[in-house]
């Protein structure tokens, strides 16, 4: 077993587990030696990864049984390298495929829009384990998985997760709330699947893209940006305060106008007062009736700077923005191109 990598303090790693019976003193010595070593940086930081060549640190192989902590704070034990994986969210599916384990999927969600072609081809014939609503527990159990990747924040309900755990299945719940955490989750899954090398490669690539975007928009003025998630029955939904989407907009060089943190709704009056300079239409990706013209025609919207200056732009890549997987950086890039079209060519 190679030297313990100390980057992921939050996760209980197998090397440390084996050292638990060892007297405290030895443990302390190892910790001291560790701290003097690679410098304890957090995972997936763009600048860190960019400055460290991907092959400089030998990537460890996962040792099973593995106990890790998922995004919901649950400790999950994986007995052996998973060969049969059930994914309960499209983002999880893409992560698994990006790590080269696509052929190990045995159950996928029904919603299969917006996958890259190779993923789409693989999942097309797999059993459906979740549609809109509760998971199909029988289908999941029938698929006999040894790893279930769920979506956090009640996208997969707590009842379902508890029930699956009670049935003896290891359920790892993923809910990244920032770009860093997306990379962290990819590395977590990589560790779970003993695909840590692939994970490092994927996250390195993501970090490059992020760095490129940040470099491109650095120094540019940040326009007040309103991202329209949807307008339903008069209620306007956008990026919530301190949300993932808001942080993406910031990284893409915009100044996000945000709505309520819990409901993500924003009152029209507040939007008018915030006066966006740029309106990004995320819902235009799904609804052809939403265009710059129809938006301009809405009551009360005509005076907004963005509308006056004609900076109302549909974003077909909305699906990438809302899918916290490896391709989120493509969404980020698309968003940045919309915000700063002149910074890219």
């Amino acid at each position: 077993m190679s030297e313990p990598s100390c980057e992921r303090e939050g996760i209980t790693m197998s090397p440390w587990r084996h050292l638990r019976p060892v007297p405290l003193l030895v443990l302390a010595l190892l910790v001291a030696a560790c701290a003097a070593g690679s410098g304890g940086s957090t995972p997936g930081t763009a600048s860190d990864q960019a400055s460290t060549p991907a092959t400089a640190t030998p990537v460890p192989a996962t040792v099973y049984p593995l106990t890790l902590t998922d995004d919901a704070g649950r400790e999950v034990t994986i007995e052996a390298e998973p060969q049969r994986i059930v994914s309960l969210a499209p983002s999880n599916t893409e992560i698994v495929c990006a790590l080269g384990a696509c052929d190990r999927l045995v159950g996928v969600p029904e919603y299969q829009v917006g996958y890259p072609d190779d993923v789409a081809a693989t999942v097309a014939d797999l059993p459906i384990v979740v549609s809109f609503g509760p998971v199909d527990r029988e289908a999941i159990v029938a698929a006999e998985p040894d790893l279930v990747l769920a979506a956090g924040n009640e996208l997969t309900s707590t009842e379902d997760i508890d029930a699956l755990a009670d049935l003896g299945l290891p359920v790892v719940s993923l809910y990244p709330e920032s770009l860093d955490e997306v990379s962290g989750d990819i590395e977590l899954v990589g560790e779970a699947l003993d695909a840590q090398a692939e994970a490092a490669e994927v996250t390195a690539g993501m970090a490059e893209t992020i760095a490129a975007v940040e470099a491109a928009v650095a120094g540019e003025p940040t326009p007040r940006t309103f991202y329209e998630v949807s307008v339903f029955e008069g209620t306007i939904y956008t990026a919530g305060e301190d949300s993932f989407l808001a942080s993406l907009i910031e990284t893409a060089g915009g100044d996000p106008i945000t709505g309520d943190a819990a409901s993500t709704a924003i009152q029209l009056e507040d939007l008018v007062e915030a006066d966006p300079e740029l309106i990004v239409l995320g819902d235009a990706a799904y609804d052809p009736t939403i265009t710059a013209e129809t938006v301009a025609a809405r009551d009360g919207w005509a005076e907004m700077t963005a509308v006056v200056e004609g900076r109302v732009v549909p974003l077909p890549e909305d699906i990438l923005i809302t899918r916290p997987g490896p391709r989120i950086v493509e969404g980020l890039e698309a968003l940045a191109r919309v915000i700063h079209p002149d910074a890219f060519d």
Binding site: S131, E138, V141, E144, E154
Partner: protein, 371 residues
């Protein structure tokens, strides 16, 4: 006064339960229930051979030495997913129907259901509180993960909410040491309205817990587990046993407070006792499956139209009928492709039209008889 004819004097009285009638109703009901239970365990979104299902149950429940010819996942599905769900449907359905029967007798109103004096509103409020509060006030979250008697905080609050609300309604409605049933109804309605407003408020400020609260209100058997059964089944069985022996009192209550009293019923005490027993069953049901509607209203009413109002037969028949209806409704609910639909939708779709048809038919029959 004319003397009784010889024929009249010797003819047996048409009282009591004949063997054929009892066998037909209860035996038939039990048989129907048995068939439905077996069918419900055998069917699901995953195909499992019927023989395997039977063998699994035989081996795990009866210890019969069947060779294991099935995949372990099949055994998990049958024993851990389907069987607890079907058994929960049985006792929840039976409990709600029984409670509905009792309230229809107590309130002398065939449109009464087990929730009418506040159980549903109280339980919903408790559940909504249990779901939303830990999210709004993180310091309360310590309770969320813990279990009491194998139940989560939501179920405990739901159960307590239902029971306490009914007792409060009863206390408010009691005037001069007596409870008028109409007062009880109106008080229940008023208290329910207040609690419903509370639930609405909790839903409004609950943020991401809204979906969870809403799906609880719809009623669902999807999260039925053996631990839930371990809590609810003893309560239900106790309630059933206690209620089945009180058939006489229920019959007498149909004569009115005054006459029942002169026939030896301690009317006020029995009102409280029957209300508590029925509410125990209802609260236990609601705690583990949310507010499933229609079973408690339609089953006793339908059965009364068919087998008559004598509670000696009506009570056990309602229990069987309610159990059968909910097992069937749940089967239909989970077979709908796309993850299934809430069982409350199915009970309404089954119950309402059938009820309308039977009501119309009985009115026609009565009109014919009167002409």
């Amino acid at each position: 006064m004319r003397a009784a004819t010889a024929q009249e004097a010797t003819r047996p009285l048409p009282i009591g339960l004949t063997l054929t009638r009892t066998a037909l109703v209860l035996g038939g009901g039990a048989l129907l229930l048995g068939i439905l239970v077996v069918t419900a365990v055998a069917l699901g979104s995953t195909q499992i051979a019927f023989g395997d299902t039977a063998a699994i149950m035989g081996r795990r429940l009866l210890g019969l030495p069947f060779a294991e010819t099935w995949a372990p996942s099949a055994e998990t599905i049958v024993m851990q997913i389907r069987l607890p769900r079907v058994l929960t449907a049985m006792i929840v359905g039976g409990g709600l129907a029984m409670a509905g029967t009792v309230f229809q007798a107590l309130l002398r109103n065939p449109l009464a259901d087990p929730y009418v004096i506040g159980t549903a509103a109280g339980a919903s409020f408790g559940a909504a509180l249990g779901i939303a509060a830990p999210l709004m006030l993180p310091m309360l979250a310590i309770g969320a993960g813990s279990a009491f008697l194998g139940l989560g905080i939501v179920q405990v609050l739901a159960f307590t909410g239902g029971l306490v609300t009914v007792l409060v309604v009863f206390a408010i409605a009691r005037g001069g040491g007596r409870v008028q049933m109409i007062t009880l109804l109106l008080t229940g309605y008023a208290v329910s309205a207040v609690l419903a407003a509370g639930v609405a408020l909790l839903m409004f400020i609950s943020g991401r817990a809204l979906g969870a609260i809403f799906s609880w209100l719809m009623g669902s058997l999807a999260d039925a587990e053996w631990t839930d059964l371990a809590f609810a089944a003893p309560l239900m069985l106790f309630s059933f046993m206690a209620m089945l022996t009180r058939w006489r009192v229920l019959n007498l209550m149909l004569l009115g407070d005054s006459q029942a009293s002169s026939l030896g019923v301690n009317v006020e005490r029995e009102k409280l006792r029957l209300t508590v027993l029925a509410t125990l069953a209802t609260s236990a049901a609601v705690a583990i499956s949310g507010t499933i509607g229609f079973v408690g209203l339609v089953v006793p009413h339908l059965l009364r139209l068919v087998i008559g109002p004598d509670h000696r037969l009506l009570l056990p028949a309602s229990m069987l009928g309610g159990a059968a209806l909910l097992v069937l409704a749940d089967l239909v609910a989970r077979m709908v492709p796309g993850g299934g639909i809430p069982v409350g939708v199915v009970t309404a779709l089954i119950g309402a039209p059938f009820f309308l048809w039977l009501l119309r038919r009985s009115r026609v029959l009565r009109a014919e008889a009167a002409s």
